[in-house]
Symmetry: C2
Subunit: 181 residues, 2 copies
């Protein structure tokens, strides 16, 4: 399982439109994001690199997984010219919770999966796990959508950030991107 | 979160008494295990290195966590001169299951936590997660106990291997150790 490496660089296939620290320490501003596999040659002159892996599901139950699989699109649809990379880190208090406590906050209280489903298939989403890699963030979430769905993405993000789950987020950066060319 | 690195070497603080492949590809035979943090200098002449991290719980619920915390001892008790390192890898079929399905097999069907509790505080246990690191094994479990509890450890192991959960184990190696000196 090779890592997926997100390089903050001066050039790359995804141009940065807007980049902001939401909470905690921000990341150095960059002009572009270049995504490589750990097996690839890294780009020259990257300001930073965030690594993650596509891993097993941690909370989704079978019925939720089936609903997700029925509607979630592939990445790299031609019309999906917008992307957003959101690295987050959760607090030590979150990670000290037992599995049933985290699940209850994640879905029963915060409706995390249900909120994502409400915006599928328009807003494609891919989660990368970073915590076990000793990275500065726990998760790197990548969203892709067509420009006309940008308001839907804004609504999704506002709903997630208003949840009880988000009270455990102690570092978050939002990087809005456009496909180059 | 630095990795914990288990080196199979020709010398080290834990001497290998017995080493056997239980299923799947075995590991090269070594004379000793040397455990280092990723921040330490690695031993010279290691035959192999298995890396893991102490991560958050994936299945234990609050009531189980409280029962575990009430009885689990620290590692490195002076009387705990026996240790066993058991690296395992589970199948793709396991990892494709949803969280509720894995939990049901893990505890409702297999009583994984309950079996461990039955041998506490005699058999101390520490779980290291390796899967997200791209390692050859998913988990490295380290057990420590006094020589007189070796039969209890054998019983624990036999009970775990007879569970439904273990039908998903596709690679397993058992390394029995004695503290050097």
């Amino acid at each position: 399982m090779a890592t997926i490496d997100f390089f903050g660089a001066s050039a790359g296939p995804w141009w940065v439109c807007d980049m902001r620290g939401i909470c905690g320490e921000p990341l150095a501003e960059v002009d572009a994001i270049d995504i490589r596999s750990a097996d690839d040659v890294p780009p020259a002159m990257a300001a930073w690199c965030l690594r993650g892996v596509v891993s097993n599901l941690r909370y989704a139950e079978r019925n939720e997984l089936q609903r997700l699989q029925a509607v979630q699109p592939a990445l790299q649809r031609p019309e999906a010219r917008c992307a957003v990379l959101i690295p987050i880190r959760k607090s030590a208090a979150w990670w000290a919770l037992a599995q049933d406590e985290r699940r209850a906050i994640f879905e029963r209280d915060s409706h995390h999966t249900q909120i994502g489903l409400d915006y599928l298939p328009a807003i494609a989403r891919k989660l990368h796990h970073s915590r076990d890699l000793g990275e500065p963030f726990d998760f790197l979430t990548w969203f892709e959508f067509a420009p006309e769905h940008a308001p839907d993405f804004d609504a999704l993000l506002a709903r997630l950030r208003a949840t009880r789950e988000w009270s455990y987020v102690e570092r978050e950066v939002e990087i809005r991107l456009r496909r180059a060319g």
